[in-house]
């Protein structure tokens, strides 16, 4: 049993405030032979510099950057070590120092955390968080195998060689422990594919029904293909800065808080432990949680890394109750089940009641805390190193009131060879003030929770 002591629970704090001012994305697709990775990163970098209403020219903004955090999950896809050096050179940022960041699926979140720490500490006034992944360098089944090496090589990888097989046992167990229907899981997929339909960046948009999801081919029972994210090529860039520079660059900066947690690579080794409580929770809430035989927390049902990241991030940001105080959230819906599991970890529902976040309507556009209006991983992308940056950018644009600008402009659709749907609708959350995003690795081995707050 893991016992957390005083020092372990010290809440991180910035030495000075950190702001996000601009973001840039690429089109996300399974196979992007028309561009090399650094060329694709340039697309995101240009959008960040040119399309975010910054008050200085792109060259002037570049002239302010003096630190780069560069996220890239898997060297074996690209088969190019030190990609960071190619990217920094290609963006014209040499000889600024770049640190490569790698924490699996949470690489994007960890990259933002690294850039934020640079600003908060005073190392940099302006830091770039850039991430990418080029998964099309191998065929899908080889990619499945590569990703499964993010399970324990000795005791797990040979038992599946596909990542859905490490989440599927969680889906079975969660349903047994807390009650979860396949229909509720499918609703997450329906929602996120639909929201992706309104995004020009999206890889897997679609208007599906619950039946379509449940009738789609099985990956690993009980998870169907429409419940899983896909392999993606793509990149994302987010610009962070200190307070003075933030207002010099933008009329719409947002404050940033972000923290992380880690837990064993093997779910099976997650022994029962006391639940670190979020500010709005009380110990009596969970007295009856382990009522069935063999139940443990976090076990196969929850993610201690996500809970620990939320424990820190909400306290850093002064959030007392996430459901009441967040206007939207971007969760790491690599699989429908992991999305639902996380609702408990980040306090959108008490543990054991996670499915209600979907069933109540809270998770939908117009609901209490709409989730994954970007289309999420299932609908829009999981270019792994870019994902946690993409999610932060989508939150930033919502708080800046720029959803329509970045999703509804027919020119953006046309630049990707797509046509904006005639029935396109805006998913701009009115008066959004505060947002959170979750970046998640492995079967919950690393998780960051980031918070963005409107500062204008």
């Amino acid at each position: 049993m893991i016992v957390l002591r005083e020092g372990n629970l010290r809440v991180p704090r910035w030495n000075r405030k950190v702001y996000a001012v601009a973001g840039g994305l690429t089109e996300y697709k399974k196979f992007c032979p028309e561009m090399k990775l650094e060329e694709q990163v340039m697309v995101a970098f240009r959008q960040m510099l040119e399309a975010n209403d910054l008050k200085l020219s792109p060259v002037e903004v570049k002239g302010l950057i003096n630190f780069i955090a560069a996220g890239n999950f898997a060297d074996h896809f690209q088969d190019q070590l030190l990609c960071e050096a190619k990217v920094t050179d290609y963006l014209g940022l040499d000889p600024m120092y770049d640190i490569g960041v790698k924490t699996g699926g949470a690489t994007g979140g960890s990259t933002v955390l690294t850039a934020a720490m640079a600003v908060a500490s005073g190392y940099a006034d302006v830091a770039l968080a850039v991430g990418w992944e080029r998964m099309s360098e191998v065929d899908t089944r080889t990619g499945n195998y590569y990703i499964s090496t993010a399970a324990c090589k000795d005791f797990e990888t040979r038992l599946s060689r596909i990542y859905a097989a490490y989440y599927a046992p969680m889906a079975v167990r969660f349903a047994w422990s807390y009650g979860l229907s396949e229909q509720t899981r499918a609703k997450v997929a329906v929602k996120n594919h639909l929201y992706a339909y309104y995004s020009p960046y999206a890889q897997q948009p679609g208007k599906y029904t619950v039946e379509d999801v449940l009738n789609s081919p099985m990956s690993t029972y009980p998870l169907r293909f429409l419940e899983c994210c896909a392999m993606t090529d793509g990149a994302a860039c987010l610009l962070l800065c200190d307070e003075k520079t933030a207002y010099r660059l933008s009329d719409k900066p947002c404050e940033v808080y972000i923290a992380g947690g880690s837990h064993t690579l093997r779910v099976a080794d997650r022994r029962d432990m006391a639940i670190p409580l979020l500010p709005h929770e009380t110990p009596d809430m969970y007295e009856g949680l382990r009522k069935k035989e063999g139940q443990r927390w976090p076990g196969f049902e929850s993610f201690a890394a996500a809970r620990f990241a939320a424990y820190f991030a909400f306290r850093m940001a002064g959030i007392a109750n996430p459901l009441e105080e967040l206007d939207l959230i971007e969760t790491h819906d690599a699989f429908t089940i992991s999305d639902i599991q996380t609702y408990g970890d980040v306090g959108l529902r008490p543990y054991g009641q996670e499915p209600d976040f979907i069933e109540s309507g809270d998770a939908y556009f117009g609901g209490k805390c709409p989730a994954n209006l970007s289309g999420g991983l299932i609908g829009t992308m999981h270019a792994v190193g870019a994902t946690g940056i993409f999610q932060g950018i989508e939150c930033l644009w919502q708080l800046q009131g720029k959803y329509d600008k970045f999703h509804g402009d027919p020119k953006i659709w046309a630049s990707f060879g797509k046509r904006k749907p005639a029935d396109w609708m805006s998913l701009q959350v009115p008066n959004a003030r505060q947002a959170a995003w979750i970046s998640h690795a492995g079967v919950g081995s690393h998780v960051t929770v980031g918070v963005l707050r409107k500062a204008f």
Binding site: M1, N144, D154, F155, M218, A268
Partner: protein, 166 residues
């Protein structure tokens, strides 16, 4: 150094063109074998081929947990002291904690699909042990018995599996 008289020649294999338009996409062969050690867990993997299931226990009297671990670990994460090997008594009977049916597997899969992966609780073990069910349909709470591939072992975790018990 002697002067080089002959011109340098190309002795590689030309890259196969996978796509010529609009961008040139070539095949990039990658085939190599790594060397992997089981390190201090070697007794566990040798044990499977001998029909034994070895766990580790922390015997440090000042450790707060003194856990029994399977998968084993050479060192205890609670007190950071070396652990000791313990052979699980035969027959090894466990309880299915959860399961999944693998239908689509990644490159190099070594089991015929579909198959059931099972996560098994074992008496006294603080962890849950992942394996596969050789036949039958799992349910949560079902009893299963460990079987070992003692002939022609694979020298991997696939040298053990579970079968329904009773």
């Amino acid at each position: 150094m002697a002067s080089k008289k002959e011109a340098t020649r190309y002795i590689g294999q030309p890259a196969k063109v996978l796509q010529a338009e609009p961008a040139l996409v070539i095949e990039w062969p990658r085939s190599l074998a790594h060397r992997h050690t089981y390190g201090k867990l070697s007794p566990f993997f040798k044990g499977l081929g001998q029909g034994k299931l070895l766990a580790t226990r922390c015997s440090n009297s000042s450790c707060a947990e003194k856990g029994l671990w399977l998968p084993p670990r050479a060192d205890c994460p609670d007190c950071n002291q070396p652990m000791e090997w313990v052979e699980m008594p035969q027959p090894v009977i466990g309880t299915v904690h959860t399961y999944a049916r693998v239908e689509y597997a990644g490159a190099g899969v070594e089991l015929t699909t579909p198959y059931y992966q099972v996560d098994v609780e074992l008496p006294g073990v603080c962890t849950i042990f992942k394996g596969y069910l050789a036949y039958g349909e799992p349910t949560i709470g079902m009893k299963v018995k460990a079987c070992f591939r003692t002939e022609d072992p694979t020298n991997t975790i696939l040298d053990m599996c579970w079968i329904p018990e009773g």
